[in-house]
């Protein structure tokens, strides 16, 4: 064994090990792997590699049960991002990731660096990022921090995404008191690559050089463990902020430089430095390729003076990448990075022994076998209890509102259903000039540059459903993305997930997690819609109160002919409005119940996945046949809200007559039964669609026509489109311009 001789290394005491979050078993395992006491740097490396964040120790067992395969899946979970085949030798590459905690501490930088991180996960695989999405959850609108957090997060996402020149094309935004102390900032990036130019992180080739490129390393983001290292740093005059600051300018250079590098044949392997920076990138590259890494830390570009090996290995400085090059190409690659004004340093080489060997100032400061470190990362089967299914609420037991029109107005002007234009106008959603469906519709659509193809993207989750029934909620989140993608005419291909939950050490929370995974599994299986990447964020909890379980799903669909895409706005007066799907007036867990009755209870709407598939496939077929001119799925707020949204998008009114039988009108209008769509079609096409529906046993009803200045629902309500628009558009700007 190599001589470990870092004379500065302190005693590795029990306390120090505790501070690094290692359990007794993990401690023992570490000693067994090393065959000796670790150095401080080694302890730090074990600690981060085995942290929940890097090791997925609480979730792994369950994540393994998700369906990840399909003929069109090129790389599923396990790589930096998932990859699907979109034909013509091209691939779409995508992933969603959380940056929750940093965004609560410092909303601008937390959200900005979240965007930066997910972009790197995608371009590190050789993809040019073409679209960003953001799924945001904030606390109650009454909470004193909500405005500050919302404005900072949105500015940070825009500040970063706008500068790197990737359009932010959609997302979702909820407010709920369960996020008061733990907001969620989930960012998703979609990229495009040629299938023969996809890069992986597994290193190979003993003697090949290991290159560090990008920004210099500072002491950013060295978390809880900082105390342990504080005594070894020169200056302690002020407590170091653990916040990382993003530099989108450098990220843009990094994207261009890396893509240029990857267009040559110089690269053996490449990996971004994400969480746990140099540590996780080097361990993953080495263990993934079954080789060792020998790194000379003196060669690491450093922003600050006197950095210790511990700090360098744990730093989370942004905008950095690790690359293994072919040996004779270093000069060429260096010139390329210098053209883009980026740091480039050979910091080590690939070795045969499988160890991560770090030297610093002439001494070996760490020497860890990477395979055991990666393979033996802890895996827990945490105890869990199933969430008890809540009782179904009957709308007939509930008083009807006096004025349905006023009720609808109140709903479209509420915190959770009002327009998000205040948000998306701060995002450049058109840069790259291929966005053909901008925020405001069901799914965002971007063209595959230079082809007829397009990708449709949607992020969805209904946390109140997941809280009431994690299984149904998990199913619903997947189904809603599938439905949104279908509604624009695209074929849903695969999803990424971002699983945000509370403390997994609590059996009830773990039960939520397990339930949601089961639901996602079932939905993905039935819909033939595999999970190809994802991220888990646990411990979203303050003072024992966890967030609502929030398994955010990001779905991607493909269109062969982007000219067939449709939007939610009806086109012509006189067009017929069709309602697809079964309306049962399901009122439990609805927006209506929450906004109008102030109650959050009952069972969420059940998701019949076979029905989803049948109805969705039917709608998509008719979109592609050119029979449908506008389509909107029914989700939050039910049928009336969907109709209102379509009217607002077109500026045209509608004359609707309902056939609600013995279901109370408010339940029929605001119930959130799943697997439903509203279509706007020409009169001639309506006949074609209705007769096809009869043949294929799809429930469809003609409920009215487009026209006039108002949304008029016979015997129930009449509201001018203008009034709807005013209520819908004004909530967020008003909210943000008043002080808390």
């Amino acid at each position: 064994m190599t001589d470990i001789n870092w004379n500065n290394s302190p005693d590795i005491t029990e306390d120090l090990i505790k501070e690094h979050g290692l359990s007794d078993d993990e401690h023992k395992l570490m000693l067994k792997i090393l065959g000796r006491t670790p150095t401080l740097t080694e302890l730090g490396i074990f600690s981060v590699m085995w942290s929940e964040h890097c090791s997925y120790k609480s979730s792994k067992l369950h994540l393994k049960t998700l369906p990840t395969k399909a003929p069109w899946v090129i790389h599923g979970p396990g790589e930096n991002a998932g990859v699907i085949d979109i034909g013509d030798g091209q691939a779409a590459i995508f992933k969603m990731e959380s940056h929750n905690h940093p965004s609560y501490i410092e909303p601008y930088q937390g959200a900005a660096t979240g965007v930066g991180g997910i972009l790197r996960d995608v371009f590190t695989m050789g993809a040019r990022p073409v679209a960003n999405m953001n799924a945001l959850r904030f606390g109650s609108t009454d909470h004193h921090k909500t405005r500050h957090l919302l404005s900072g997060v949105v500015e940070g996402i825009g500040g970063y995404g706008n500068c790197v020149g990737v359009p932010t094309v959609g997302g979702e935004t909820n407010f709920h008191p369960s996020y008061d102390g733990n907001i969620l900032v989930n960012a998703m990036t979609v990229g495009l690559a040629d299938q023969d130019k996809i890069f992986l992180s597994a290193a190979a080739g003993v003697g090949n050089p290991v290159i560090y490129v990008g920004s210099k390393t500072g002491r950013d983001g060295i978390h809880g463990a900082t105390m342990a290292s504080a005594e070894f740093t020169e200056d302690s005059e002020e407590k170091r902020p653990t916040v990382q600051v993003g530099d989108p300018f450098t990220e843009k250079l990094l994207i261009e430089a890396c893509l240029e590098l990857m267009s040559t044949d110089m690269v053996v392997a490449i990996q971004d430095m994400g969480a746990a920076g140099l540590t996780s990138s080097s361990v993953e590259m080495a263990s993934g390729g079954g080789v060792g890494f020998s790194l000379n830390l003196d060669m690491v570009p450093q922003r600050e003076e006197g950095m210790t090996p511990y700090e360098m290995m744990l730093s989370e400085s942004q905008e950095r990448m690790l690359v293994v090059l072919k040996p004779d190409r270093v000069k060429e690659a260096e010139a390329l990075f210098h053209k883009w004004d980026l740091d480039f340093a050979v910091i080590g080489e690939i070795t045969a022994d499988g160890n991560l060997t770090l030297t610093w100032q002439g001494n070996v400061v760490a020497d860890i076998p990477t395979q055991p470190l990666a393979d033996n990362s802890p895996e827990y089967d945490r105890p869990w209890v199933k969430t008890e299914a809540p009782a179904v609420i009957d709308a007939a037991d509930m008083a009807a509102p006096n004025d349905l029109g006023e009720t609808l107005l109140k709903m479209v002007g509420s915190a959770n259903l009002s327009s998000r234009a205040w948000i998306w106008q701060q995002y450049d959603n058109q840069v790259m000039a291929d966005t053909i469906q901008m925020p405001g519709g069901d799914a965002a659509v971007v063209r595959v540059h230079g082809t007829d193809k397009a990708l449709a993207i949607s992020t969805d989750c209904t946390p109140r459903y997941c809280y009431a029934d994690p299984f149904e909620g998990g199913k619903q989140a997947v189904a809603e993305t599938w439905r949104n993608i279908t509604a624009v005419g695209a074929n849903p291909m695969a999803i990424t997930d971002c699983l945000n939950f509370g403390n997994p050490e609590r059996p009830d929370i773990m039960g939520q997690f397990v339930g949601a995974i089961e639901g996602i599994r079932e939905a993905c299986t039935v819909l033939d819609y595999p999970v190809i990447s994802g991220n888990v964020s646990l411990y979203n909890e303050t003072n024992g109160t966890g967030i609502h379980p929030t398994p955010a799903i990001g779905g991607v669909g493909l269109m062969q002919d982007s000219s067939k895409m449709i939007k939610i706005a009806p086109k012509e007066n006189g067009d017929v409005i069709l309602l697809v799907g079964q309306s049962n007036g399901h009122i439990g867990c609805t927006q209506y119940l929450s906004i109008i009755e102030g109650r959050e209870e009952g069972a969420p709407p059940p998701v019949d996945l076979e029905l989803e598939k049948k109805n969705g496939d039917f709608v998509r077929k008719h979109i592609l046949d050119g029979n449908i001119s506008a389509c909107h799925d029914i989700s939050d707020g039910g049928l009336f809200v969907s109709l209102a949204e379509m009217a607002m998008a077109s500026g045209k009114g509608m004359n609707i007559a309902l056939n609600n039988g013995d279901i109370p009108a408010h339940a029929y209008g605001f119930g959130e039964d799943q697997a439903r769509y509203v279509l706007s079609v020409s009169a001639a096409d309506a006949d074609v669609i209705i007769s096809d529906a009869a043949e294929t046993d799809v429930k469809i009803e003609n409920i009215g026509v487009v026209g006039g200045e108002a949304l008029d629902i016979e015997d129930l309500l009449t509201i001018s489109v203008k009034e709807l628009l005013d209520a819908h558009a004004s909530w967020m700007p008003n909210y943000m311009s008043t002080e808390s």
Binding site: D247, F249, L253
Partner: protein, 229 residues
């Protein structure tokens, strides 16, 4: 029309401009890297949108000091056409080729949306395919598009017909609420006195086909082609 698009390190609408020029002119544009001091002989040089150097310090400031800038200025001096869109407009003011400056939006927020522009005068090389007073839809996407010039400069711009586009409402009125960034006199785009240099905040290159939401941007490029014939 022979054209060239300049790329600074963090330009991000260079491809969009390139694609628009290629589609509309039918000719492959040249690419100019900000470090190039030799530039091709073309009719039009386009400075695209983006963040050139991260928009640090001041938008366009560092770009306006790049090696390629000298040659671009010479091209302009010879009477060659130069357009600057968004960040490109900021670069042109920083270079001193256009008067005034672009300040932080009055809302202090980035703004991305489609706005209405009034074509102030269809006599120019950049607007002759539009009608005077025509209202067109073009998207904006910027953080610093709040045009400022001192009163004298402003008066001169107005008197000489150097204001090319103004933010207006659907009726063509330059109202405060139709102004997305607080620009003086609702100015969206201006020309130099000689009429061969134009800077504008809105992005005509993003609106050249209906799939993008509209194609009112085409007229801008077609005007330049037209004025060469």
């Amino acid at each position: 029309m022979k054209s060239a698009v300049v790329t600074f390190p963090a330009s991000n609408c260079d491809r969009d401009m390139y694609v628009a020029l290629e589609k509309i002119t039918g000719q492959t544009p040249h690419k100019i890297w900000h470090q190039d001091s030799d530039i091709p002989n073309v009719d039009l040089i386009a400075l695209p949108g983006g963040f050139s150097f991260g928009d640090y310090l001041r938008c366009g400031a560092m770009a306006a000091r790049s090696p390629a800038i000298k040659a671009i200025a010479e091209h302009a001096k010879r009477g060659g056409y130069v357009i600057g869109v968004c960040n490109g407009f900021q670069v042109l003011t920083e270079m001193g080729l256009l008067p005034g400056a672009l300040m932080r939006n009055a809302s202090l927020k980035f703004v991305c949306k489609t706005v209405q522009l009034k074509v102030e005068n269809s006599d120019s090389s950049f607007t002759n395919r539009y009608n005077t007073g025509q209202v067109v839809d073009i998207p904006v996407a910027h953080h610093d598009g709040n045009y400022f010039a001192d009163d004298q400069t402003l008066a001169k711009l107005e008197d000489n017909g150097q204001v090319a586009f103004r933010y207006v409402d659907e009726k063509g009125e330059a109202t405060p609420s139709s102004n997305p960034n607080g620009s003086q006199n609702n100015i969206a785009g201006i020309m130099n006195e000689r009429g061969n240099i134009l800077g504008m905040m809105p992005h005509p290159e993003r609106f050249i086909e209906n799939a993008q939401g509209g194609q009112d941007g085409r007229g801008f490029f077609e005007s330049i082609i037209n004025s060469l014939n």
